[in-house]
Amino acid sequence: MTARATVSDSVDELQRALADDAGFESWYRRTLPRVYSYLVSRGGGDVALAEELTQQTFIAAIDQRSRYDGRSDTITWLCGIARHKLADHFRAIERDERRQMRMEVRQIEFSQGPRADLGPEDRTMIAEILRSLPASQRAVLVFVALDDLPVAEAARLLGKSRGATESLLFRAREAFRRAYVAESPDD
C-alpha cells in the first residue's frame, strides 16, 4: 500500500464515521475505550476527569475534523487531541495550586500519611503518588514517562522552555522517588 493510499484510507475512515449515524456509532464504540483508557491512566485514575476530558476530546475532534490529514489512524489522532486537553488541564490545575499554595501550606503539611495496605508495585499506589505531586510535575512525568515524548515536545505542550522542563522533570522524578520509597521502604 502506498503512502498516498494510506492517507486516503485514513481520511476515508473519518469521513465514513461521520457520514451517517450507524457509521458514527460504530467508530465511537471502537475509539471511546481507547481514548478513555489513555486519559484514565494519565489522569491518575480520576474517572470524573477522564470522562470530562474524553467528552472534550470527541467534541474537539468533530469540530476540527477538517484538520485531520490521515497521516495517523484516527485513534492516534484522537489521543493527540486528548493529550492537549490533558495539558490544558494540568496548566489550569497548576495555576490553582500556585494560588492555593500561599493560603493552604499548613493543610498540606497535615495531609494524610502513607498507605501501608498497598503492595510495592500496586498500580493504585503509583496512581496515588502521581496524583499527590504538583500538577506540573505530574504532567511532565505523564508526557515523558507514559507517552515517551521528547522533553522538547513536553515543553511545547506545557508552554515552558526546554530548560525549565528538564529542571521540572528532574524535580518530578525526585519527588516521585521520595514518595515511592516512603510508601514502600523495602523497594
Binding site: 461521520l18 451517517d20 491512566s41 467528552q55 496512581a127 507514559l146
Partner: protein, 412 residues
C-alpha cells in the same frame, strides 16, 4: 532508584479501562447532534471543497517525505482537487442522501427512495398504519394501529423485520399527535391518554418495548419534542384554557415553563441546533421562539401573515412555516429571526427539513392536479414530487392522501 526504574513504574499505569456504560450512552447522545450538524456543513459546497483540499494537501505533504514534490506539483494537485470537488458537488446535487422517506398511504406503510421515487411496502397489506415517524438513524419506523376499540404503538425495521409493540402494559390511547425520536434512535416519546386521565407524555424503549410516563399526574401534556442533546423533552402544558411551553428531563425531573406568560401555544415544533431556542406557533397565527435558558419568547412574524407550524433548518439559519390563505396553505421560508420571509410554494404544507438541510418536505396539493409529497430547496430551486398522490386526493375533501410521513426530521 534510577530514572528508568521510575519511568517503568509509571508506565504500569497504562492499562485498558472500560468507561461507565451510562457515560458512554450520554456522551454518544450529546455527540450525535454535533455530528449531524457537521454533516450538514460538510454537505455544502464549501465544506466539501475544504475536505478535498485537505486530503490533497495531506497527500502532497506525505509524498514529500519520500520524494520532494515541489510547489508547482502541489499547485497542480490543488487545481485537480478543485475540479474533482466541483464534480462531486455536482453529483451530490442530483441526489438526496437523507435515508428512506416513510409514508402511510391509505394505511399501507411504505418506504420511498426520494432519489428515484421507487416505493416498496414495509408491511403486508391490511395493517392500517397511522402516525408514522422514522428514527433519525434511518433504521426504524414507529407507527400506530387502531382496531378493535384500542390503539397500539409499534416499531419495525425499515426492512419490515423485527416488529414489536411499545408500552403494551400501559394500554396507551393515541391522541393523533406526532411521535418524536430520541437523537440516538433508541427511544420514542409520544402523547397518549391512559384510562380517563389527561394527555400524558410517555417514553418507550424501542428495544425492550418498556414504556414509562414522564409528565406529572394531573397535568395535561401535549406534542412532545425531543431535544438534540437527548436530555430534555419539550411539550405544551395545559392548565385550564392556558396552554404554555415547558421542558422536562427524560427522567421526569426538572420541569419548567419557558414561554413566560404567553398562552395559546400550539406545541413545540423544533429545537435550534444549539439547543438555545424552541420554535413554535400560537393559536392566533404568529410564530415565536422561546429561549430555553432564559425562559422568554420572541415573536418572529407580524400581523400581515397568519403563520403556523415553523421548523428550523438543521443548521439553524432558516425556518420554514405555513401561512393560512383561507382555502389553502402556502409554504414560506424566513431567516431564523423571522426576517426575510418569502413564499416558497403555493398550496403546500410544511413537513420539515431533510437531514442535510437542502430541502423542505411539503405536502403539495394544488387546485388543478392531485399533487404529492414534494421537496424544494429553501432558495426555491430543485422542486420535485417524490411521491405523487392518487387522483382522489384532488377532490378537496382531504388535504393529503398520507396518514403520516417520517423522514427522521422534526415536523410540525
Amino acid at each position: 532508584m534510577t530514572d528508568e526504574r521510575i519511568d517503568a513504574l509509571i508506565r504500569r499505569l497504562d492499562v485498558p479501562s472500560d468507561p461507565d456504560p451510562a457515560f458512554e450512552r450520554s456522551t454518544y447522545a450529546a455527540l450525535l447532534s454535533r455530528v449531524r450538524a457537521a454533516r450538514v456543513t460538510d454537505a455544502s459546497r464549501i465544506g466539501s471543497l475544504q475536505r478535498d483540499i485537505r486530503l490533497i494537501v495531506a497527500g502532497a505533504r506525505r509524498q514529500s517525505v519520500a520524494a520532494p514534490l515541489g510547489v508547482v506539483g502541489a499547485v497542480v494537485l490543488l487545481i485537480l482537487a478543485t475540479i474533482v470537488a466541483f464534480a462531486i458537488v455536482g453529483a451530490m446535487n442530483r441526489s438526496i442522501p437523507n435515508g428512506p422517506l416513510i409514508v402511510s398511504v391509505r394505511g399501507e406503510l411504505q418506504a420511498v427512495d426520494t432519489r428515484n421515487g421507487t416505493v416498496r411496502n414495509i408491511l403486508p397489506p391490511g395493517n392500517d398504519t397511522r402516525g408514522v415517524s422514522r428514527s433519525p438513524d434511518g433504521r426504524l419506523v414507529a407507527f400506530w394501529t387502531i382496531g378493535g376499540g384500542s390503539a397500539r404503538l409499534y416499531v419495525v425495521g425499515v426492512d419490515g423485520q423485527d416488529r414489536r409493540e411499545l408500552g403494551a402494559d400501559l394500554h396507551l390511547g393515541w391522541t393523533d399527535a406526532i411521535d418524536t425520536w430520541s437523537p440516538d434512535s433508541r427511544s420514542v416519546a409520544t402523547e397518549v391518554v391512559i384510562g380517563i386521565g389527561p394527555a400524558r407524555i410517555v417514553v418507550a424503549d424501542v428495544v425492550t418495548g418498556a414504556a414509562r410516563i414522564v409528565t406529572p399526574p394531573g397535568l395535561a401534556a401535549h406534542a412532545p419534542l425531543w431535544s438534540l442533546d437527548g436530555n430534555w423533552i419539550a411539550f405544551a402544558e395545559q392548565t385550564g384554557a392556558f396552554r404554555s411551553l415547558a421542558i422536562i428531563r427524560t427522567d421526569g425531573s426538572g420541569m419548567r415553563t419557558i414561554s413566560g406568560d404567553l398562552s395559546g401555544v400550539a406545541g413545540p415544533d423544533t429545537w435550534s441546533p444549539d439547543g438555545q431556542w424552541i420554535y413554535f406557533s400560537n393559536n392566533d397565527g404568529a410564530i415565536y421562539r422561546a429561549n430555553v435558558p432564559g425562559a422568554f419568547t420572541q415573536r418572529l412574524t407580524g400581523n400581515d401573515l397568519a403563520a403556523f407550524a415553523p421548523t428550523s433548518s438543521p443548521d439553524g439559519t432558516l425556518i420554514s412555516f405555513i401561512v393560512n390563505r383561507s382555502d389553502h396553505w402556502d409554504l414560506y421560508v424566513a431567516n431564523s429571526d423571522g426576517t426575510g420571509a418569502r413564499q416558497l410554494l403555493e398550496h403546500a404544507t410544511n413537513a420539515g427539513w431533510s437531514s442535510d438541510g437542502r430541502y423542505v418536505l411539503a405536502e403539495w396539493t394544488p387546485s388543478d392536479q392531485p399533487g404529492g409529497l414534494a421537496v424544494i430547496g429553501p432558495d426555491g430551486r430543485g422542486f420535485r414530487v417524490v411521491l405523487p398522490f392518487g387522483a382522489d386526493c384532488s377532490s378537496g375533501s382531504r388535504q393529503s392522501c398520507t396518514e403520516g410521513v417520517g423522514w427522521g426530521q422534526p415536523r410540525p
